[in-house]
C-alpha cells in the first residue's frame, strides 16, 4: 500500500467571472521512503497540491488517501517547510521550533530534547536564543527545516524551500538536506518537494512529477536513476534536464 495515494484530484476557486481551475484530475502515488519532486511552471497549482496533501486546502473533487484512509482536515503526520520560512518574528529560534511540539502536547523534557537535537542537526548551534530577524536567509530556512524535522513527520512537505535563497546558500542547503535524509537515523524518510527549478528536482529526487501550466495536469512521471551524489555537469543529468524542459515547453 502506498503511503500517499492521490486519486483524480481537482481544485477550482469560484471567481467573479466564472471559476478558476487550479488543478485538474491529478492522480499519483508516493511510496514510503521516496523523495518525490513536483515540477512545473508558475501557476500550475503545485503549491496548492502540497497544501491539499497537508489538508490546509480542501479539494473540490477526488480523493486523498493516506495509508489507505481518507484524512479529515489537517494531516498531522505531515510537516511543511515554507518558501518564505514562515517563522514567528517574536519567537526565538528555539521557541519557533518548539511551537508545533507544544501544540501536539509533547512533554517538556521531550520537547527540549528534540529542539536541541534538530538545532544541532541543521547546524544552528549557538543561535538558540536568536530572533529570526537576526538571521540570514539560509539560517532562517534552517530554522524552518528544523521545525518541520522536530515533528518527526512521516511525510515532509517542502514548498519551494530554496527559492528565496541566493544560489550559493541554496546549493549547500540542498546538500545538507540530502545528508540528513540519507542518514540511517533520519527522522524523515519520505519527502514531497515542490520546485520550479528543474535542476534542483533532478539533483534531489527519486521521481519527478511534471505538471502542465494551469490548470495543472500530470504531464509525466519520471524515474530518476542517476547514482548519488549526482553530478550536475554530467551528460546524463543534462539530458534529463532537457527532457523535462521540452515536456513543459511543448504544452505551453
Amino acid at each position: 500500500m502506498p503511503l500517499l495515494d492521490l486519486r483524480h484530484l481537482s481544485k477550482s476557486y469560484p471567481q467573479t467571472n466564472g471559476i478558476l481551475r487550479v488543478i485538474e484530475d491529478i492522480s499519483a502515488t508516493v511510496e514510503e521512503g521516496e523523495f518525490i519532486a513536483i515540477v512545473g511552471p508558475s501557476g500550475c497549482g503545485k503549491s496548492t497540491l502540497l497544501r491539499i496533501v497537508n489538508g490546509i486546502v480542501p479539494i473540490s473533487s477526488g480523493q486523498v488517501l493516506y495509508k489507505g484512509r481518507q484524512v479529515d482536515g489537517i494531516n498531522l503526520e505531515c510537516a511543511m517547510v515554507f518558501q518564505s520560512f514562515a517563522l514567528m518574528p517574536w519567537l526565538t529560534v528555539e521557541d519557533n521550533i518548539e511551537l508545533p511540539l507544544d501544540a501536539m502536547g509533547v512533554p517538556l523534557a521531550e520537547r527540549r530534547r528534540r529542539t536541541g537535537l534538530y538545532i544541532d542537526k541543521v547546524g544552528l548551534d549557538g543561535f538558540e536564543e536568536a530572533y529570526p530577524r537576526e538571521l540570514s536567509g539560509g539560517m532562517k530556512q534552517r530554522v524552518g527545516l528544523a521545525r518541520a524535522l522536530a515533528v518527526e513527520p512521516k511525510l515532509l512537505l517542502m514548498d519551494e524551500p530554496f527559492s528565496a535563497l541566493d544560489a550559493l546558500t541554496a546549493i549547500s542547503l540542498r546538500e545538507e538536506l540530502l545528508d540528513i535524509w540519507r542518514l540511517p537515523d533520519s527522522p524523515v524518510h519520505t519527502i514531497l518537494l515542490v520546485t520550479h527549478i528543474i535542476e534542483e528536482a533532478i539533483e534531489l529526487a527519486d521521481r519527478i512529477l511534471v505538471l502542465s501550466a494551469g490548470p495543472g495536469r500530470v504531464l509525466a512521471d519520471l524515474q530518476v536513476d542517476l547514482p548519488r551524489p549526482r553530478d550536475r555537469r554530467s551528460e546524463a543529468f543534462n539530458m534529463l534536464v532537457d527532457k523535462v524542459f521540452s515536456l513543459i515547453e511543448e504544452r505551453s
Binding site: 489538508g55 490546509i56 511551537l99 508545533p100 501544540a103
Partner: protein, 575 residues
Amino acid sequence: MKTTIINSRKLFTGTLSFLILAAILALFYAYREHTGVLHAPRFSVSARELPYYAFCSFYRMLAAYALALIFSIVYGLAAARGPAWERVMIPAIDIAQSVPVVGFFPAAVYFFVALAHGSRLGVEFAAIFLIFTSQAWNMALGVFESAKTIPADSIEVLQSFGINGWLKLKCLLLPACVPKLVYNSILSWVAGWYFLIACEIITVGPTHYRLPGLGSYLMEAADRGRSGEIVAGLLTLLAIIVAMDFLIWQPLSIWSEKFRYEFAASSPQTEAIAAIAALNRLGPSILRGARKVMLTISGPIRRFGERLPRVNLAAHPRFTLALRRVRTVVLLGLIGFMVYVVIVGVIALFRTLAQPWPAEARLIPAATGASIARLVVAYLISLAWIIPCTLAASSNPRLRQQLASVAEIVGSVPATALFPLIVMFVIKVTGGMNLASILLILTGMQWYLLFNLLAGVSQIPEDLKEAARSFGLSRVGTWRKLVLPAITPSLITGSITAWGGGWNALILSEYFVYQNHTYEVLGLGALLDSATYRTGNSVMILLSLLSMVAVVLVLNRLVWRKLYNVATERYRLDY
C-alpha cells in the same frame, strides 16, 4: 448603472446606521426623566489637594483604557474573522469614530446617574464611558488591521501543524497586534486626556455634578481667577504625561518593535522609535526590570501548567458541540439585545420628537451655518501657519525633526486643559466670545494637521528629492511639483481628524460658564449646551445633537471621503 446600485446601498447603510445611532441617543435621554439633581459642595482649589485630583483623573483614565483594551482586542479580532463580520463591524466603527463624543457626555451623565440611582458613581461611569469612546475605536481598528495583514504563510504554518485556539491567540494573533496596539494606545491616551479634562470641565461649569479631578480643579481655579493654581495644575498634568511617556510608552514602543514583520522594518514609525531608543537610556533597563518581574510571576504558573495532565478538549466531540451551542446562544443573545435597544430607542425617539418643538428649533439652520463657518475659519488659520512650516521642513530635515519633537510635546498636552486659561484671558481682554470660541476650536484642530503633514513630508522618498535637485528645479518648483502633491493624502487624513477634533471642541467652546456668567454665541454647540444645562428641553437637545451628527456624517461622506479617494488614487507614492 453599477455605481447607482452601490450608492443606493451606501445610502441605505448610512441611513440605517444613523437611525440606530439616533435610537441609542434617544434611549439615553429617555432615562433623563428619572434623574434627581445632584448637588455637590464646591471643592477647594488649594494646590495641596493636587495629588488627590491627579490620582482621581488618572484612575478614571486607567479604568477607561483597560475597558478599551479588552474591547479593542475582542472587537478587532472578531471583525477580522471573515468578510461578513468585517462588512458589519468596520462601518459601525467608522460611524462611531465620526460622532462628536463630547456631545454625548450630558446624555451619558443622565443615563448612568439614573442607572446608579442618583449616586456620584453614575457621573464616574459616564466619564469613564466617554473616555472609553474616545480611546476604543482607533485601537480596535489597529487590531483589525494587524490581524488582517498577518502574512498568509504564518497562518498556514499554524494550520499545517494543527495549532488552534488559545495557542494560536498566544503565538500569532496577539503578538501580531502588539505594534499597532502600542502605537494606538499612545494616541488613545492623548485623546483620553482631552476628553477626561473636557468631562471634568463640563461638570464644574454648567452642570450641578462635581467630578474631582485635574480638569475640574483647573476650571474652578480659573473661575476664581487664581492663575498660580492654574499653573500648578497644568504643571502637574504635564508631569504625569511626560512621566508616562518616559516610563511606559517609550519602553513599550521599543519592546513592540520585536513584534513587527520584517517587511515593514523601515517605516517612519521605526525611525522615530530608533531616535527614542537613543534618547531614553532608561528604556532598556526598564524593559529588563519589567521582564524580570514578569518571569518571576509567570515561571511558577508555567511550571504548574506543565505538571497538569494534558487533555485535548477539542478532541472531544461533546465538548466542541457544547462550545458551539454556548457560542450560538451568546451571539443570539447579543443580537437580540441590540435589536431590543434599537426598538426601544426608536420608540423613545419618536415619542420625544412628537412633543411640541420649542421656538429655538427655528435657529438650528442658522446655528449650523455659524458653527461650520467657525470651524472653517479655525481650519484656515491652522492651514495658514502649518502649510508654510511643512514646506520649510520638507527641504530641511533638521527643522523637520525639531518641529516634530516640539509638536509631540505640545500636542500631547490636552488642549482642553488650556481652555480655562484661554477663556480667562480672551474674555477679560477682548470680551468677545466669538474670538475665544474660534481660538478654542483651533487648539482642538491644529495638532492633527501638523502631525499628519510632518509624517507625510518624512515619507517623501529621498530619490525623488534628489531627482528634483538634479533636474535643477527651484525651491518653489520642488514644492509645487513634488512636496505639495506628495503630502496631499496626509493633508486629507489630517483634515479629517482635525475636523473630528474641531466638532468636539465646538461643543465646549460655544458656551461657557465663567464666574457665574454665561458666555455664548449662535451655534449648534451653544444650542445643545443651553438646552442641556439651562432649559433642559429634551426635544431641543435631541434635535441639535441629531443635526450635528447628521452634518458630520454628510460632510464625511460627501466631502472628505471623496477627497480622500481622489488623493490616495492620484497622489499615491508608488507606481
